[in-house]
Subunit: 235 residues, 2 copies
């Protein structure tokens, strides 16, 4: 349990939203680990607020699928199993395809420019080799495409589904040797959208997800092995 998740009081938001964002980030970055119990008083003390905003934040996290509730026992950080990840990816595959198809039809000139820029910036980011930078550039790129659909509901859903993967994002980006594949996949999507070629765009998007899936699952297996090793040592 790292010490530095503190509330960001700068933002002018109800405490429940501040807490919500704080806990969410803590879960996504792995600061709060799967299975860890979220005890209200602890969190309240830690964040310097009362239980009320904590509880309300947890209700939302529950519906987002980031925590699971056990009645009269409280909340704990949701486990990511291989099955649940595959479920998410199966849905994302369809929604990402829809996304790029809609983007083909609806992307504006300005958005095309932004997309091009984001693509270049991602390529640059990969050259720095810094995981955080790469992750940021990746999010930015995808955001532009998603927003180009103009479909609020779709935007919200994809963001929520992405969350589930962000927990593995760092490992996954680390895993990608050279990142050349990622760059190429992005280029492919980017070009298809510029050309307005829905079919090609959809295929590229699906391929992108498939590769991420493989990469993330490889990571999960690696982690599992490491955990087993630890256990062996202890015994």
């Amino acid at each position: 349990m790292g010490d530095n998740f503190t509330v960001n009081m700068d933002e002018f938001l109800p405490l429940r939203d501040v807490v919500f964002n704080t806990l969410r980030r803590a879960i996504l970055t792995g600061e709060l680990k799967p299975g860890e119990r979220l005890m209200e008083i602890h969190l309240a003390n830690r964040l310097g607020v009362s239980r009320t905003p904590i509880r309300e934040a947890i209700r939302k996290l529950e519906l987002e699928g980031l925590v699971t509730m056990i009645p009269r026992r409280g909340a704990e950080v949701a486990q990511i199993t291989e099955k649940s990840l595959q479920d998410v990816l199966e849905v994302r595959r369809a929604l990402d395809a829809l996304c790029v198809e809609l983007a083909c039809d609806r992307i504006t000139f300005e958005e095309k420019e932004a997309l091009k820029r984001a693509c270049d910036e991602f390529e640059e980011a990969t050259r720095t080799g810094d995981v955080t930078t790469i992750a940021g550039a990746d999010v930015a790129l995808h955001d532009i495409i998603v927003r180009a659909t103009g479909n609020q509901r779709l935007i919200q859903l994809i963001n929520n589904l992405s969350e589930q993967m962000y927990r593995y994002r760092f490992e996954y980006i680390k895993d990608e040797k050279g990142h050349d594949n990622l760059v190429n996949e992005h280029r492919m999507i980017y070009e298809s959208i510029l050309q307005g070629d829905k079919k090609k765009a959809a295929e590229a998007a699906k391929l992108h997800i498939d590769n991420q899936e493989k990469s993330i699952i490889r990571q999960i297996h690696l982690e599992r092995e490491q955990q087993l090793k630890k256990k062996d040592k202890r015994q």
Copy 2:
């Protein structure tokens, strides 16, 4: 405002969940109308509980998109605009297609039997002409297909998206003259799944959504006209 939404104390659930279900149903059935304010003390008095479970229920409704929050002003029942409905349907079109495709691959023998029964029951229901019966049979039928995918996340998402349409469901089923189209569309989907013909199934599912979209939007326009007429009369 009808009087009879009361908490169902029979269920052994935390009050927040009881309240959540109660409010949700009230919104979906139109008992709580779009734009109506959800004031905590009123609801608390009405449901005979304190503000705390009300607030926690509202947080979840917020994330589900059934209520919108205005800071320091509280919650109100979310408006359904034509745009928001189209957004939902655009997503559902993709997800329903995914659904039937997955069902083609994964449906078990028992589920096939259940599907056949549900199909027949739906046809019978249309003959009764009773809207509630028809709606029930429709939900049952779709539920079988959705569950056959075995994808928890997909099940959850489709249920959530369906909610947005349930608010119009009654009008929409009323609108369908003779319901023959509905029966045929269901048959088409059903047969494709039995045959394991993904492509045909996906097409049928999309057609099904498209027709619903047309029908619902026609209803929205009708409602709007009626509201305008009322306004005219008053002035």
